[in-house]
Amino acid sequence: MVSLAEDVAIVAFEQTPSHAHFNDSEPAMIMPCVNSVIEQVGMDRHDIDFTIAGSCDYLSGMPFAFVMNIDAVGAWPPVYESHVEMDGAWALFEGFVRLQSGDIDTVLVSGSGKCSPGSYREGFSLQTDPYVHAPIGLDPRTQAGFQAQALIAAGKATERDFAEVVARSHANAKNNPNAQLSGDLSVDELLAEPYLQEPLRRLDCPPTSDGAAAMIIARADKARELCDNPVWIRAIDHRIDSHHPTLRDLTDSPSVRIAADRVGLHDGPVDIAELTVTYSPEEIILRDALGLNGETSVNPSGGPLTGSPFMAVGLTRVIELARGIRNGDGGRGVAHASSGPALQQNLLCVLEGDG
């Protein structure tokens, strides 16, 4: 496990509900989240040292859409600011690393995305290999279908296992006011639904969602000054598998295994795991690669199958875990964010309470 130069904690967080369609601009969606986290810590906005956002112009359908998003974060007079064309969880990663330098105290992190105006399948197919994949529109749902079929062929899972992930996620989401979908679903009824992307059915896939999330993180002394119940970020790691799906064992995730080792996942109890399960088979792969057993509560929020605002959904996993720890549902846990198709890129973040 990597030793840290600086202890860092989450001191404030906020998220929007997962909207089927948010009928206003992305900045208008982010702004209330940003205002909330600033209010929670009682800081003057311009006393926050560094600002970083994650979003995707392909979703927004506009070059430099991320520049417009700066409207939401209070960037005038000019602030020290950055952006990643990634989920907000990677903005958190950069903010966390930036704090390790020890010269600044606080970072405002946000992530946002509106999937409803466009076609995320078409947009994200552009993130694949530009010579052999993008020209045939190889989309994330198709790659999830390959992954599901590979699991079945290897005898590692069945369609019933996928349906059980869906049913459990929707049931958990009944307790999450920000979830877009929730309810009691029967596995047999789920299995009676037609295929959308054989062997996947519609609810094995995420809903189309719009949403945003924001967070303030701080170095140790400042964190204690800003709040009574900081949630400590003990480690973050990000690992990548090949972008050629045919060169991977799709039934496993070597990148998650490496990241889990690097963050020292099992150096302590894993009470809660908030995982970016965008397609139901991914939960089976992640549980295995993370080495989770029955003692871990997996996606008590319902996870992305019940609300999946891309580019905010990974940061939201960190928020849901931090909320669970603050609520006393567990003392330590892991948040997982993913990027690229079929769990190609994976980020793990271990959080621990103040106790």
Binding site: H21, N23, D24, S25, P27, A28, M31, P32, V34, N35, R45, Y58, G61, M62, A65, M68, D71, A72, G74, A75, W76, S116, P117, G118, S119, R121, E122, G123, S125, L126, P130, Y131, V132, H133, A134, P135, I136, G137, L138, D139, T142, G145, F146, A148, Q149, A150, A153, P194, Y195, L196, Q197, E198, P199, L200, S242, H244, P245, T246, L247, L250
Partner: protein
Amino acid sequence: MPQLHDVDYTLEYPYTRTTGPVIGPFLTGLRDGRILGQRCGDRVLCPPMEFDPDSFASLEPDLVEVGPGGEVVNWTWVAEPSAKHPFDRPFGFAFIKLDGADTDLVHAVDTGGDPEAMSTGMRVRAQFRDERHGSVADVYFVPEADAADQVIEPGDEPVTITEHLIGLRINEPLYPHRARFAQGLLDGKIIGQRSPVTGKVYVPGRGYDNMSRVLMSEADEVEVSDVGTVVAFTELNPVQYYGQTETEPYVRCSILFDGTDQPVIGIDIRDMTVDEMRVGMRMRCIWRDPDERSVEDIDNRYGNIPETVYARFEPTGEPDIPADELKEHSW
């Protein structure tokens, strides 16, 4: 009467990429009706790569023909094709191990829309499209029994550039404040939003005041004057990029309407030359007849006061405002 409408557009860019020493011959082969793999030790990689995927060592280009038959080793059925897929009816995507290759190519299998025809282990064969452009989309696959013999005429020059027209479709309603702004233009009114914090008036409003980080609503909206002052101008000489519709030089200016704090940018002037424009010049909007106004060019991101709502902007003849007084607004 003209009406509002949803935002519906496709943002497109033609990407041209050089192909390099391995992908170039591969795409040349596809254009010429052959599939090539790259030798890597005692293996053959298809799709070909410039490096050994296990050791990442560079590979000298060494291409060998594979296929056209192969075996499906993984597949998924696309019940609802996207606009960017190779077929507009349901089809299979598959990992295909081509005869003579040791790695798998991801590609589309057309079974005539029948998912029952797909299975792991099935035999497929390449079919080449009538129009080929040196792209991976020049080829597709069908069940071997359905394959037709094809006579492919090879091209002349090797493929050194591959073109890919990427597109993003956007479809959504006008946001409420954009709809009210656009309706205002149809009614011959310019609607702005007054910040409840600073009192500054923004045209068009964005639904928030970014300086004060406060959302704004219909209650913050005000009609502003259609007379204002030129704060900036330029002459545009249209570059003939993909999608360009302009051919002749024209003037584009920014106008600060009376009583507002933010100029409206992108107002096009067709009946004056750049030599006749001055910063500080007072201008009035001459609206089109109500039946001739359109706000089709207004979406949720672009479009301020488009030419489709005004006939022209006319100098009022008032004395100019000293440019020095406009420095805050020269954008």
